[in-house]
Subunit: 480 residues, 2 copies
């Protein structure tokens, strides 16, 4: 259904919902009156709907918030998940075992329609890898091959190093790059800009004739922490191995080059791209009491990189959404529409989980898609992509989250997994959190449970729960 202005609203069958199913309220008589008038078609809905909805749901929102903050259940469940299975890279046994476990737990939570939609996912395997500095003095450098990279020859690639600060510098110095290992020592500015060297570095280095390519890890902070992540090759450009080293070592090699020292590295990788493997988008629901075919979907991605525990990225997002839905169940808050928690698979390896979800569920009527993939740190609110009318409505619902500081709704937002769905016209929301340290841990061995705070995780549960529940239950459907 499309949102087409006031006239359409008055014709919207959802407005005919019996008003006695509105949440019980104990104050704010005037808004109740507005809702009554609105329900009777006597008041312009643009004028009253948002404030009224917020007021009408204040008690339920507070119950959800109080329940979420009452304990650290979400954190405990997250800890169990990541301790039991560790990291869960696309194609791995650990990922599928984690999905099995989640489905069992969702069943025992009493959620509806627990299932795993089969999705074929890339299956890149890191294997053994190492990087040795052989000149000017021997030292083993912490490193991580980048996801999708080819292997080196069995004996490795031993070559002199050319350090550059940018693609531009590589172009200017292309005649020096032939046969060398090119190191992109590019300080972190923002993810979008700096990650270009991870995704495109091997292509640029190969074009300049390099034997292999290495990046400075994409992070503003390091404790000798290499970061992995996806990378690309281009048709018609020779494929060369591509890996990341730490900020510390990238700067050291750069200083050595600046001093005129000759640097030689020995890179060994035996990574392999295996045939695509079966995985699953894991999901469960509370079936809507009145409009079961209208779906509010919320979640994160259940896969991770093959390092750390993938606790922040993104088990936390999945568990916060899951716990939000479980809390509705526990509190007996069954919304009019269906709420569905999803753990999308293989976000880190091209996102087939999100694409397949959109394809397999295209026949369904999605009202809103919500995603947390920025770490379940202190939530600030949401970024929203949708119509002005919908933005106004979710902004007002956001005021129910003001008491926990999570009510800020900004324009623009979504996520990699809900992107394909959003491109079909479904409004989308992405969690907005205090991301100060997100890139410190992103795609590293340091992405572990302890980086998350139990209270902040609980706040994320509350943030998911309130927005999802109100949008799922409110008399008016969130407009497109």
């Amino acid at each position: 259904m499309k949102w087409a202005g006031r006239g359409c609203v008055l014709l919207n069958p959802y407005w005919s919902d019996p008003l006695n199913r509105m949440p019980r309220r104990t104050s704010h008589r005037a808004p109740i009156l507005s809702v009554l008038l609105l329900g009777a078609g006597l008041l312009a809905p643009e004028f009253v709907r948002s404030q009224d909805i917020a007021d009408a749901y204040r008690d339920d929102a507070n119950r959800l918030i109080d329940a979420a903050l009452a304990n650290h259940d979400a954190y405990a469940r997250l800890g169990e998940l990541v301790d039991l299975f560790g990291h869960r890279v696309s194609g791995s046994v650990a990922l599928e075992q984690a999905i099995d476990w989640i489905m069992e737990q969702m069943e025992s939570d009493g959620l509806d329609n627990v299932r795993g939609d089969m999705v074929m996912v890339p299956h890149w395997v890191r294997g053994e890898e190492s990087l040795e500095m052989t000149l000017p003095r021997p030292r083993s450098l912490p490193m991580l091959g980048l996801g999708g990279s080819i292997a080196t020859p069995v004996g490795g690639i031993r070559a002199e190093v050319l350090v550059v600060s940018s693609f531009d510098e590589l172009e200017r110095r292309a005649d020096e790059a032939q046969g060398k290992i090119v190191l992109f020592d590019v300080p972190f500015t923002n993810y979008g800009a700096t990650v270009q060297y991870r995704s495109q570095g091997a292509i640029a280095a190969a074009r300049a004739g390099a034997a292999a390519s290495i990046i400075r890890s994409v992070t503003p902070y390091s404790q000798q922490t290499p970061h992995t992540g996806n990378m690309e090759y281009a048709d018609g450009v020779r494929r060369i191995p591509h890996a990341a080293i730490t900020v510390e070592d990238a700067e050291m090699l750069h200083r050595m080059q600046d001093r005129g020292e000759r640097i030689e590295l020995l890179l060994k990788m035996n990574a392999q791209m295996l045939p695509d493997a079966p995985s699953r988008n894991v999901m469960a629901e509370i079936i809507g009491s009145e409009f079961p075919n209208e779906v509010i979907v919320l979640g994160g991605h259940i896969d991770s990189w093959d390092v750390g525990q993938g606790a922040m990225d993104d088990a936390g997002g999945v568990v916060a959404a899951w716990e939000a839905v479980r809390l509705m169940k526990e509190l007996g808050l069954r919304p009019r529409r269906t709420v569905r928690v999803v753990g999308w698979t293989s976000e880190e390896n091209g996102g087939p989980g999100g694409s397949e979800y959109a394809r397999m569920h295209a026949h369904e009527d999605h009202v809103l898609a919500m995603e947390s993939d920025g770490g379940v740190f202190k939530p600030l609110g949401y970024g929203f992509t949708g119509s002005d009318a919908a933005f106004e409505m979710v902004t007002e619902i956001g005021t129910l989250l003001d008491r926990i500081g999570a009510g800020r709704i900004m324009r623009g937002g979504g996520g990699a997994d809900i992107g394909p769905l959003m491109r079909t016209g479904v409004p989308g929301m992405g969690f907005s959190v205090d991301g100060t340290r997100y890139f410190w841990y992103h795609h590293t061995d340091a992405d572990t449970l302890d980086k998350l705070d139990p209270d902040e995780v609980a706040l994320c549960v509350a943030t998911f729960a309130v927005m999802a529940y109100v949008v799922a239950d409110m008399p008016v459907r969130l407009p497109r």
Copy 2:
């Protein structure tokens, strides 16, 4: 010489120093008059000496500060040192090569009496080591053996794990520890308290019958960063291997135990304690123009642990002191007394460098000993140990550092390397810095040049230079 009050001062031959050698001043006539009167014995020295000294040296102090802040020479030299030689553990070739290089550089700086005093130092070699979690699921855990630990048998020690939070808990659960690997999961409170588990953990665990002992690394912050450091055995107590794991993994193992899971680890270490090896305390001087036998000694320790670059701990302290002395030379500021920069050896392995220095130089007249071993971060001032009269004087000299925020002189301070000298009655000062992140990097692979800021290193040079120069040059000797 001992400081014995006012009468003594007036008899002190240093006061007979010609006043025309006092630094040229352009303002503050009254203090000049005080110095004149003081020099003539007409004014009580307690009343005027400190303020007068500060005023008299303001121009020289500003010259030193300006010169220190004018460039990043100290940072560049520090980078060269740590990049050329890497970490420099007691007994290693790298340490001796670094000392050779420093001596060459000190010679080329034109400093006096460049030399290395031979010191025999412990020679512990880490060798190969690893820690595997075999139950409840296989995972390799980042670890570092602790300095001085014995090896495991060749096949390693495979044993169940008992996690405890304190020595007390271990005592209560001693009957569960037999034959196990004991893990001390003790969160960082302060170094003095928490480091007890590193130094004494193997003794306590062996007494409880454990096969090996492991600690949570001594740090408030981790990115899967294991920390090494020294440890002890006790006579009559069985020696067992002792290693550190990361905060992340200590917490994970603790959670697993709390959930009732059986944890098994396989620890392999082939560390060896070799015979003591020759090393050197490296030093150079500007010989005092008037009292060459009175020595102001300043420095840090040139050895490090066998990880990272030992840039913060403590190449930075050595280089800041060295650069402070070199700047005096460059500016033509030759003080009345001798200033001596020292890089003490093997501080990390029991401190024979500091002890031997005190023994070998016991015949010399040390006026003041200064040390930086808390990282050359933003300097705040000094901690001082000495008489009230001396404290008053260095406090006043400290005001010359107020313009760079480094003038705060607190009671109490010194350092491991100057400790033996201080115990003979020599006043001592330890650098006080913003140590917020010191223990993030301490004894880890993350102790690298980039953790230090070029401007802050320059401020440390200035802080060393001003205090050392004024104490070395002022007409009155710093009292004991």
